[in-house]
């Protein structure tokens, strides 16, 4: 070997060692490829070149020098096999790019790409030696490129993993936060912020459905426009996420206003709301993985919203119950707290309200020395309206009792007042009487109430004289009254239908017949004892079945 050739070999060897040292000093693909290409261009005095690597099953140009972009843009999309076979399309590309020599890069896993070089600046052709030397350079480079590709892949996998962990963290955090917020607006705000942050989206809307009513919780879209377009479709049937393609095809009006994704929020298969998103600022499409995340977040949010609604409902119900309890208390306070003491009468009374606020009423009003008004009434219906009417009734009675009008006429007046004050078909059954302690006399009017029972000498007399129930129409026919001279041992039992219609579990009524029988069997007992006995019998009869009506009784025994 001549000295010149020796020197050349030495120089080549030194260059190769230096090249190997440099490219193995880094794991950055760009740095390695740049060095490979520059070394080749420098060594062969080539004026252009490129490096292409396999990505999946295709070749991808990773680096090029001296080749115009328009030429690069026609790089064919050819399938890359294990040995990087240069297909016909590739060869014609090399020709148009003026690339003269191409060599494969092969690592331990097989061919990973190729390097191509253009003509030499000095116009000489590539020799066999040149090709051999290029092969040597690429053999040295292959390991470094392969390592860097592995590191790149690892980085990509790591990043995907990070992204999944980040989403998992977000889901975890949201599930915690959704439970903490007490207002639905805060839940929807949090949902929107999370979606904006996660997907770089600035156009959105969150809708909540109550039946077919739409509540817009958040919207950056024009609300009127959005709703009018949405109503053109059967939006309650959007049970699966709609991506860009589906929207464009089946919901064009929504797609036209910039909607790119609709994800339903469902509870037990029912669509309770929609998450509507516009374009992502980074122009990426929503992937299936993104949609899955949005669906999960939406589910968390809608459950939180639904819980909040149910909680609010429960609160309102509780509030209503508290108000009813309050009404019941007021009603109880309207009843006489004490029975006045009389010379000739032993009087006892009781009002046991059912669970609901009812409309039973009894009263004893002292109108003059030795003269008392006794009354018992039952307002139709239940709840606040019944209790208000009952309160009215009591007020009328209190006023009219003091007017010194005979009770038949007074009943007519009360009926007129009640008729004026009821408009929804409510009425009152009413029995009242003037009880004269001095003369042991009772003058009564019965306005459609269950006739009170008088037990005298083991016989029953009913107090039926009077007229129609109160509140149905103005008084056209005057009410009749009846006056009875009472005798020692007489017992009067006044009651409401809560007594006679007390129901047992077999839907049987206690009945007035049973009450009459007890009335007869207890004629010797005091009023209080009689009251107690009737209560016991009713309790025995109903066998613990819940009662829907108030139970009111007043008992007068003549001494």
């Amino acid at each position: 070997m001549s000295e010149v050739e020796n020197l050349k070999v030495k120089r080549n060897l030194t260059a190769l060692i230096e090249f190997s040292r440099v490219i193995n000093s880094s794991l950055e693909l760009e740095f390695i490829l740049n060095n490979v290409l520059l070394t080749c261009l420098g060594k062969f005095l080539a004026i252009r070149g490129l490096v292409a690597l396999k990505e999946g099953n295709h070749f991808q140009i990773k680096l090029s020098k001296g080749i115009p972009d328009e030429v690069l843009s026609i790089f064919p999309d050819v399938t890359a096999d294990k040995d990087c076979e240069m297909k016909e399309e590739l060869n014609s590309f090399f020709e148009s790019a003026h690339l003269k020599i191409c060599e494969r890069i092969s690592s331990s896993v097989g061919c990973i790409g190729f390097v191509c070089l253009g003509e030499k600046l000095n116009g000489k052709e590539y020799t066999d030696d040149d090709r051999e030397f290029l092969k040597t350079i690429l053999n040295i480079a292959a390991t470094a490129i392969q390592n860097s590709l592995v590191v790149q892949e690892l980085k990509k996998v790591n990043r995907e993993l990070d992204s999944r962990i980040q989403r998992l963290n977000s889901l975890f955090e949201l599930s915690k936060e959704f439970g903490l917020f007490s207002e639905s607006t805060k839940v929807s705000r949090l949902l929107v912020y999370s979606l904006m942050g996660q997907f770089l989206v600035s156009n959105y809307a969150i809708l909540n459905f109550e039946g077919s009513a739409i509540q817009v919780l958040e919207s950056k879209f024009q609300i009127d426009e959005l709703l009018s377009k949405l109503r053109k479709y059967d939006y309650l049937k959007i049970e699966t996420p709609l991506n860009r393609t589906k929207l464009e095809k089946s919901y064009p009006e929504l797609f036209e206003i910039g909607i790119q994704l609709i994800v339903p929020m469902q509870i037990q298969g029912k669509v309770k709301g929609l998450i509507i998103l516009g374009k992502r600022v980074n122009n990426l499409d929503y992937s299936d993985y993104d949609i899955e995340f949005i669906y999960s977040v939406g589910s968390l949010a809608i459950i939180s919203l639904e819980n909040r609604r149910l909680f609010k409902e429960a609160l309102e119900k509780q509030k209503l119950e508290e108000e009813l309890e309050f009404a019941r208390e007021i009603q109880q306070n309207l009843l006489p707290s004490q029975i006045p003491a009389t010379n000739n009468f032993d009087i006892a009374a009781i009002n046991l309200p059912s669970k609901q606020v009812g409309g039973d009423y009894f009263d004893i009003i002292k109108v003059d020395e030795g003269k008392y008004i006794i009354a018992i009434a039952d307002v139709s219906g239940k709840g606040i309206p019944a209790s208000l009417l009952m309160a009215n009734m009591q007020a009328f009675l209190q006023v009219i009792s003091k007017q010194n009008i005979d009770i038949a006429t007074a009943t007519g007046l009360i009926n007129d007042l009640i008729s004026q004050n009821t408009s929804d078909g409510r009425f009152i059954t009413f029995f009242w009487a003037l009880l004269d302690d001095n003369e042991k006399r009772l003058t009564y009017v019965n306005a459609g109430h269950n006739p009170p029972i008088l037990v005298r000498n083991n016989e029953i007399i009913r107090f039926s004289e009077g007229g129609i129930i109160l509140g149905v129409m103005k008084t056209l026919l005057p009410y009749n009254s009846n006056s009875i001279q009472l005798e020692s041992g007489d017992k009067i039992i006044m009651f409401t239908d809560g007594v006679s219609e007390a129901m047992n579990p077999f839907s049987q009524e206690f009945s007035e017949e049973r009450l009459e029988k007890i009335a007869l069997s207890t004629s010797q007992l005091t009023s209080n004892e009689t009251l107690k006995k009737i209560r016991e019998e009713i309790e025995k009869f109903v066998e613990g079945a819940p009662q829907s009506d108030d139970l009111t009784m007043m008992i007068i025994r003549v001494r």
């Binding site: 912020y193 999370s194 942050g197």
Partner: protein, 115 residues
Amino acid sequence: MAEFNTTLKEQGDISIIKLKGYLDAHTAPVLENKFNELINNNKYKIVVDFRDLAYISSAGLGVFMAYIEKVRENQGDIKLASMSDKVYNIFDLLGFPLLYEIFKTEEEAIKKFSE
């Protein structure tokens, strides 16, 4: 509730918001208020300094998305600076660096406004 606060500093026509603590769903409204305040005062050149921010959740990131449009419409920008690696990673994962300029220091971000 997690600790979070912001301090505002003015440098010429640039407003610098320093964040401290945990920026999550609970504390996001604090930052919202700050942005609202600046926008109401027509201050659209904003640098957000993350030096003392320990954590940011996706809801926290959402706040930046909520205001950027309005700020840029008014020829301003929100520039981000001094993030810890942990915080930067989250921004990076979600692709924020494509949309926002993120600087190593507050000074660099401020300087960018005057270019």
